[in-house]
Every structure is written in structure tokens, then in C-alpha cells.
Symmetry: C2
Subunit: 301 residues, 2 copies
């Protein structure tokens, strides 16, 4: 990968949301490709395959939250790559037969379907290790890099993402469906923790107070998950890139089953408004992040 060229782009320019998202995804992938160079053949291939085709939304949150504080895209790219590597690992493991048992992800066979379960376990494990290696390379002071690393560990672990996924699996064999409060708590861990980390990363890099960005990330994370449930009901498998109707058919409690379709959409829209309002203090500079929040509840995939 030509990382030098990436460094010489005019990084502080504001871009429309779609371009900023694409650029963030490319930057993160370039870092991951470089870091897996010379890796054990099959596992390296599986790692790159799992990262390829991701929307790059979490990388975007890292990079754009950093831009609010005047931080160049190249300087937050390692943290952006870290969160994409971590996200990709979580998808590989979640798709395993012993977990959600999915055959399709981003319109392609899941890693364990393309290779096998052992490759999927190991590629996920290696992507998690890579995430922590990458986040230490973020361009800020050692203290702030350590803070990013420690909080990433917390967000990824048993008190965060893994804890949420475990709650989700436990709920499947529970005798009663989850309540709305329980689903909100579950999702705050399962998907919310990493999204919050991404949205606050820029403030941490800059040594600024991350409170407003945390509200933005929490509202947006919940809206994102509600919209996933909406897409599970209304979406088209080809566009969504994975099986739809699974949760509804399994009789699983979702935001849609608990609130109804229209109320779920309203709730998501209100959350996005709240997310946008949290960024008022940043003025026009935050417009790209506001566009991202609106994207979350308009996406078809």
C-alpha cells in the first residue's frame, strides 16, 4: 500500500459524508493490509477478506471526531484501523456455527463458510490482537494512546461487547423474551461500546472533554441498532448483505417486536435528533458527523 501518498492528501478539507466515509474505510484498510503483510498465508487472507467490504463507519467516527479538533486524517488513521480490525473480528466470531451461525456477511460467504471454523476462530483472534497493536500507533501523546488502548480493552471485553453478545446468546434460551430495558442494556454493550469508543476517540486524542461526543455516540449507537431491527423486517437480503427476517422468525424480542415498526422508527429518528443536537457546540465543523447520524436511519443495508 502506498501509505506515503495517503499522508500527503489534503487531510483537513471537509468532505461530503459519503466521500468522508469512503476515505475513512480506505485509510483503515490500508493500515490493516500493511500490518498483515507477510502473515501466515491462510489467516492473513482470511483477515483481509473479513475487513474488505466493511462500511468503515467506526473508522469514520474516529477520523471525523478527531477532525473536530483539527487532527489530520493521517494522524487518527491507526486508531480508525484498530476499531475496524476489532469490529471485523467480532463479526467473524459472531457468525460462527456455535454463535449466530450465519452463512452470509456483506454479501459474501462468512469466513467459516469460505474456509472453516478453525480459520475463523484464528483470524478473529489475530484481528483482535492487531487492533490493540494498531491503537498504540495513534499519533498523539503516550498518555493518550494508553488511554485509547485501555478503554478499547474495556469496550471490547466482558463488560462491553463480549458481555453484550453473551447476554444475547443467553436470551435465546431464556424462557421469557427480553424487556425493552434489557435490550437497551444489551445493545449498549454489544454494539454501543465500540461505537461510543469511536465517537469519543478524537476528543481523547486531542486531550479534550469527550462528554458531547459520548452523548452523540450513545444516541447514534442505539438508533443504529433499532434501524438494524427495522431492516431485519423491511430489508432485502441482497441489499442488507446478510439474511433478513431471522430475528422476527425466531420469535426473538427486538425493538420492532416490542415497540411496533412505526414507533421503532420514530424512536430511532428522535435519537438521531438528540445525537445531532449534542454536537451544537461544534457548529458547522460537525456537519459531517450529523450527516452520518442521518445516514444511520436512512440506510437500506
Amino acid at each position: 500500500m502506498d501509505r506515503l501518498e495517503v499522508h500527503h492528501l489534503p487531510d483537513l478539507e471537509a468532505l461530503p459524508f459519503a466521500e468522508a466515509l469512503a476515505r475513512a474505510g480506505e485509510l483503515a484498510q490500508a493500515h490493516i493490509l500493511a500490518a498483515t503483510c507477510g502473515a501466515q498465508d491462510v489467516i492473513g487472507d482470511a483477515m483481509r477478506y473479513a475487513v474488505d467490504g466493511g462500511k468503515g463507519l467506526r473508522a469514520f467516527f474516529v477520523i471525523e471526531s478527531a477532525r473536530l479538533f483539527g487532527i489530520d486524517r493521517a494522524d487518527s488513521a491507526a486508531a480508525a484501523a484498530a476499531i475496524e480490525a476489532l469490529h471485523a473480528y467480532s463479526l467473524i466470531h459472531d457468525d460462527l456455527p456455535c454463535m449466530d451461525n450465519d452463512d452470509l456477511r456483506r454479501g459474501k460467504p462468512t469466513v467459516h463458510r469460505k474456509w472453516n471454523d478453525a480459520v475463523a476462530v484464528l483470524a478473529g483472534d489475530a484481528l483482535q490482537a492487531l487492533a490493540f497493536q494498531l491503537v498504540t500507533q495513534t499519533a498523539c501523546t503516550a498518555e493518550r494512546r494508553l488511554h485509547l488502548t485501555a478503554t478499547l480493552g474495556g469496550a471490547a471485553g466482558v463488560h462491553g461487547m463480549v458481555g453484550g453478545q453473551a447476554m444475547d446468546i443467553a436470551a435465546e434460551s431464556a424462557s421469557t423474551p427480553l424487556t425493552l430495558d434489557e435490550i437497551i442494556r444489551l445493545q449498549a454493550k454489544k454494539t454501543g461500546a465500540l461505537i461510543s469508543w469511536s465517537c469519543t476517540a478524537g476528543a481523547v486524542m486531542a486531550g479534550e472533554e469527550p462528554h458531547r461526543l459520548r452523548i452523540y455516540g450513545e444516541c447514534l449507537g442505539l438508533a443504529f441498532q433499532i434501524w438494524d431491527d427495522v431492516l431485519d423486517v423491511e430489508g432485502d437480503a441482497a441489499q442488507v448483505g446478510k439474511a433478513v427476517g431471522k430475528d422476527a422468525n425466531a420469535g426473538k424480542a427486538t425493538f420492532v417486536s416490542l415497540l411496533g415498526l412505526d414507533a421503532a422508527k420514530d424512536r430511532a429518528r428522535n435519537l438521531v435528533e438528540e445525537a445531532c443536537a449534542a454536537l451544537d457546540t461544534y457548529g458547522d465543523k460537525a456537519e459531517c458527523l450529523r450527516d452520518a447520524a442521518r445516514f444511520v436511519i436512512s440506510r437500506q443495508y
Copy 2:
């Protein structure tokens, strides 16, 4: 756990090897227990179960290498806990049915046998995240903590432990058994990388040159693996705490199958001598580490 009490022990005293090993294991476990407090029920239980009963050898290497430079046990305990958490995760995942498919570990049912595959995947994932969280808490400068974290990521990932495990699995379906050089390279990644990290951690914490400790760790890591192959042939399952004779029965190339039993033992003994000699510069202070090297080739488990 009473962590305060641990902090007030006279930590700079030299202990005989067996006591130092036990103390290191206890310190690491106390940190992991504290960190998993309030964790999601099943996953938290599985994490603690997997860590419980470990020899604590890697924690010992961290703590004793730090003591060479006058660093108190309490100050290296977080790094010691990190490497034990990482080691425990790797054992859980290696034991999975899609990997080595083992039912017994440390004389107890493996995590996926006691619970199920999903719990084993998630508990392993959470222990890896915890390892990176813990290592950032080591008591040294931010720059050195970052260095410990980044190198732990490298040692754990596709260029280290995971890469070695993938080579091992690939070898099982290969048409020709591995050569001696290939096994040495495989083991340097699969088990050597974490052992080397542990043995050099103290020098990194102290900001000292880790070269001599790296030689010690590399020689000892290889001796350790050769001795594992010896135990697979000569050991008793009850003492070893896991199935024995597996590799020999599977017709897998091992140090014993390639060198013969006696020559393999000689090789391990020579490596241990080399490991001990590498520590000459540290004089009597390194005696406990030398005892550990001798333990590696005398252990029955």
C-alpha cells in the same frame, strides 16, 4: 481479593523458585479476579475457571525479570496478569473441537466441555481483551507501558502465537510431516513469542536493554516445547493434566519423533544451560530464573 495486603508484602525479598512461582501465579490471578468482578455471569465464571490452576510460569517470568532491575512484585503484577490472561485465552481456543479438540486441561474439563463452544469462544475473546487492558496498567512510564502493549499485540497475533497455531493446524493436513527447522520456527511463534515477551518484560519496564533476557527466553521457550513433546511420550495423563500420547499416535512430527527421545532430552538440557549462561551478567540475582529454566526440563506436568 485483598489486594492491599498483597501490596504490603516485602516484595523485594528473594524466594525459592517454587514459592516465587506460586506467588506470581497468585498475584496474576488476584488481578484477573478483580478485573472480572461484576462480569456477565457465565462468561465471567468461564474466564476465572480457565485462569484457575495455571502454573503461572509466564507471570513468574514477568515478575522475576522485573526483580532483576529492582522492581517490586506489586509493580509488575498487572503485566504478569496480562500474560496469564492471554495464555488462558489461547488454551481455551486451542482446545475447541474445531482446533485441537481436547476434553481435559489442567486435570479439569476444558471450557467448551464444561459449558459449550459459544461460551468458550466468548470467554477466550474476553480474556484477550482483558490482557490488553491489564498490560496498560503496569507501573512504569507511559512510553514503556505502550511498548509492552504493542509488543504483546505482536507476540499474540498473526506474526506470533496465532500464526504458529495456524502453522500447526496446517501441518496436520499436509502430505509430509514438518522438518526440524519448520517445527522450531512454528514453536518460536506458537509458544516462544509469549514466553520471550514475558522474559523481557522486566527489562522493558526498567528501560534496560532486554538482549540477554531475550536469549534466555528463546532458549527456555524451545526447551519448554521439547519437554512438552517428551511428556507426551513419557508422561502420565493424571500428572500432565491433559491427554498424552496424542501427537505420537497421530503420527505428527514432534521433537521426539525427529530427534529420538534421548537426543531430544539432550537438546533441551543444552538449551537450558544456554539460557542460564545468558544471565551470567546478573549474578546471583538471577538464580531464581535459572531455577525456572532447570524446572522446565525436570517437570512431570
